[in-house]
Symmetry: C2
Subunit: 135 residues, 2 copies
């Protein structure tokens, strides 16, 4: 049924453009002394913390348990020379969670490198002709 797509409906039948259906993908992260230090999920988590001011809310928005989010934050803080995320309990405004300038710098650096990876994948993917067209 879904096997035989209507001609022209989506220009990605094998006859038309055999290579459109393949895509070079990649992932990157920074390893630290305890394994993963900075990665896609950790960076997005920090961005949500900046936005929402709370690990609980950030975790919720990402569909992640608080426990998991806390462990990611703790893993970054333990591995970074200076903490990326600071939580103050209590205080005048009832406490809150902040991403430090070090965390913000890590976020920026990560996206910059991520962008470079995207360009790399596009360039290399175009060369990645693993099939023998003559065969």
């Amino acid at each position: 049924m879904a096997h035989r797509a209507k001609a022209g409906k989506k220009n990605r039948g094998p006859e038309r453009s055999p290579h459109r259906q393949y895509r070079l993908k990649g992932r990157l992260w920074v390893d630290g002394p305890d394994g993963t230090f900075i990665g896609y999920g950790r960076v997005v988590l920090m961005e949500r913390i900046i936005e929402l001011g709370s690990i609980t809310k950030a975790a919720k928005q990402m569909g992640m348990s608080y426990r998991h989010a806390w462990r990611l934050v703790d893993s970054m803080n333990r591995q970074a020379p200076k903490p990326f995320v600071i939580t103050s309990a209590g205080g005048r405004n009832g406490g809150g969670t902040l991403v430090t300038e070090h965390g913000e710098k890590a976020i920026k650096m990560f996206w910059k490198t991520y962008g470079a990876l995207e360009r790399f994948l596009e360039k290399e993917g175009a060369k990645f002709d693993y099939t023998d067209r003559k065969a």
Copy 2:
């Protein structure tokens, strides 16, 4: 014990070179119509099949179940325009498993792109200074 390495044994104490302990890492794969098509594990599996002439032996050497190895091979064969791995049951030599020239080309292309990624990571990793050294 292992905590306090002999001075000079490995130059990667935090005091000496704060950035040696961080490393930019990456992974790449090719997605096809059904998800992952070619990736590190699949390429190594094909290399073991070339070496050992058997999915069973290749799987065993990689500490992988036969079932899992077979599914990886099947996934590649279904997504490739021409099969990467051919198994002939029986025959004069009791059958055997071969990697086709298409599979061999995929292996070559993968390692070439993988090498380019390694160079990319090295270059970008050197730039990846997420900490504020002045702080």
